[in-house]
């Protein structure tokens, strides 16, 4: 631990932004080279959201009640499914070790990877959700609130999920272990995210929920990079 802090002590801003930019550009390039994989993840989101009316009822009242929760739960699952992509390929071919050995600050490097993860999974979901929300009898304002909540909430999912993804590197039981670690931590995001639309429906302002999501995002942005960097170092020990 002590040398971990020593090497990351007070890096200058240029080094941080260079490391962040490099990791972001690299992971985005890799993600965009396998567009099919990104498409499959979005299709997963669309299909899960479309299955709920079949499982429950096509009536508008039922769907309107379920809508925000279904769109958010599916976003959680889509994020969860894409988490192994963050580190596991780099871990198995040794790239992650080289990244960790670099003199650039590791928290900035993993932040770039998390940003790329959000841009390729969370952002498309947030853009797609208002379109799918039409299936659930949501009106224009509600769809706007849903999109705003997802834009604030999905980065938290990427940040928290990255901690779990790094912790489970090299552990047995991969995906289902990751779900057990990460999904309980997602609970507050789900509550406030789905609650934003419900608040609006109850005639209240969605402001408190959106503010709490923003606060959670700031907390996660400040803390998660260091937790992920520590977890990566633990995995590489």
């Amino acid at each position: 631990m002590s040398e971990t802090w020593a090497t990351t002590a007070a890096p200058d801003a240029a080094s941080v932004s260079a490391a962040f930019g490099w990791a972001l550009a690299r992971d985005l390039r890799i993600a965009l080279r396998s567009k099919a994989e990104l498409g499959v993840q979005l299709m997963f989101y669309v299909i899960v959201v479309s299955l709920f009316p079949l499982a429950t009822s096509p009536s508008r009242e039922v769907l309107a009640t379920l809508g925000p929760g279904v769109l958010w739960t599916a976003a959680l699952l889509a994020s969860l499914l894409s988490l192994p992509r963050l580190f596991s390929a780099d871990f198995s071919d040794g790239t992650l070790e080289q990244i960790a050995l670099s003199p650039r600050p590791l928290p900035a490097l993993v932040s770039g990877k998390m940003a790329a993860h959000w841009l390729t999974t969370g952002l498309p979901v947030a853009v797609l959700a208002p379109v799918l929300g039409g299936q659930y009898a949501m009106d224009g304002t509600e769809l706007g609130i849903l999109a705003a909540a997802l834009l604030l909430g999905t980065p938290i999912l990427s940040l928290l999920g990255a901690i779990g993804a790094a912790l489970t590197l090299g552990a047995r039981g991969g995906g289902s272990l990751l779900a057990l670690l990460v999904l309980p931590l997602y609970a507050p995001v789900l509550i406030f995210g789905a609650g934003a639309v419900d608040a609006r429906r109850a005639g209240l302002s969605a402001g408190p929920q959106l503010s709490l999501l923003a606060a959670g995002l700031l907390l996660a942005l400040a803390a998660a990079p260091f937790a992920v960097a520590t977890a990566v170092r633990i995995a590489l020990d």
Partner: protein, 248 residues
């Protein structure tokens, strides 16, 4: 004499101390529990509104408290383990996790059997129940991560980090769930106002709490002794510890 706080930070000197403390707290646990159950089941009066069903409180509330407290203790030892890279702190965190999970499960289970006669349902998506359920999931996650990593030292640090992340999240989960839904009765005991229950009930509850607390300490220390022996089995002092019994 200056007490050396670090004397017991090594497994070899902590092992016999843990054994003595474990026995002391084991005896205390039995004594407190018998006294607490006697007060709770015999002395305490029947509740005016809930009848005798309320007596589940003497198990329910202490276990619910311990479930939260043990998570804090686990996070404390995890912080020490991660910060100072000490082996024994990580073993303490490892030993606490199953007991914490047991307490959370007992709180939920006893709560379900209390909810049935008073609320008319075993389970409701009430704030405290939901956050206790999520707490149980967090415990199970730590235990599962421990089992999924073969190298014990790596598992120590990974579990320590997960416990700390969970500890930051526990209050957030608690308050988020509380705003989401609340059916649970408010706290019956508060340090800032007079108790809303009969004095004998409070006494029974506090004695049972002492009993559950002692049980948790005794079991955790007994478990940490097993973990020490298992992990240090290659070292000379564990071999000499086991040898006389084997020769007998």
């Amino acid at each position: 004499m200056i007490f050396n706080w670090f004397r017991y930070s090594s497994p070899i000197s902590f092992y016999p101390l843990a054994g003595r403390l474990s026995r002391v707290f084991g005896v205390l646990a039995v004594a407190f529990t018998i006294a607490g159950l006697y007060i709770g089941l015999v002395v305490a009066p029947t509740d005016a509104t809930q009848g005798d069903a309320y007596r589940i409180i003497f198990l329910h509330v202490p276990t619910a408290w311990m479930a939260m407290l043990i998570y804090l203790a686990m996070a404390f030892w995890s912080a020490l383990a991660l910060g100072f890279n000490t082996r024994l702190s990580a073993m303490m965190a490892q030993a606490l996790a199953p007991t914490g999970a047991l307490m959370a499960a007992l709180a939920l289970w006893s709560g379900a059997f209390w909810g049935r006669p008073t609320w008319g349902t075993y389970w409701a998506w009430d704030a405290r129940m939901t956050s206790t359920l999520i707490l149980l999931f967090l415990y199970l996650g730590v235990i599962a991560l421990r089992n999924a990593i073969d190298d014990p030292r790596r598992a120590d640090r990974a579990c320590a980090l997960l416990s700390l992340v969970g500890a930051v999240n526990v209050p957030i989960i608690y308050f988020s769930v509380q705003w989401w839904n609340t059916l649970h009765q408010g706290s019956s005991i508060s340090f800032t106002s007079a108790p809303k229950m009969a004095m004998t009930m409070v006494e029974g509850l506090l004695v049972m709490t002492a009993g559950v607390w002692s049980y948790c300490i005794a079991v955790t220390l007994a478990r940490v002794r097993s973990i020490i022996v298992e992990r240090e089995r290659g070292s000379g002092w564990v071999a000499s510890l086991i040898a006389p019994q084997g020769a007998r």
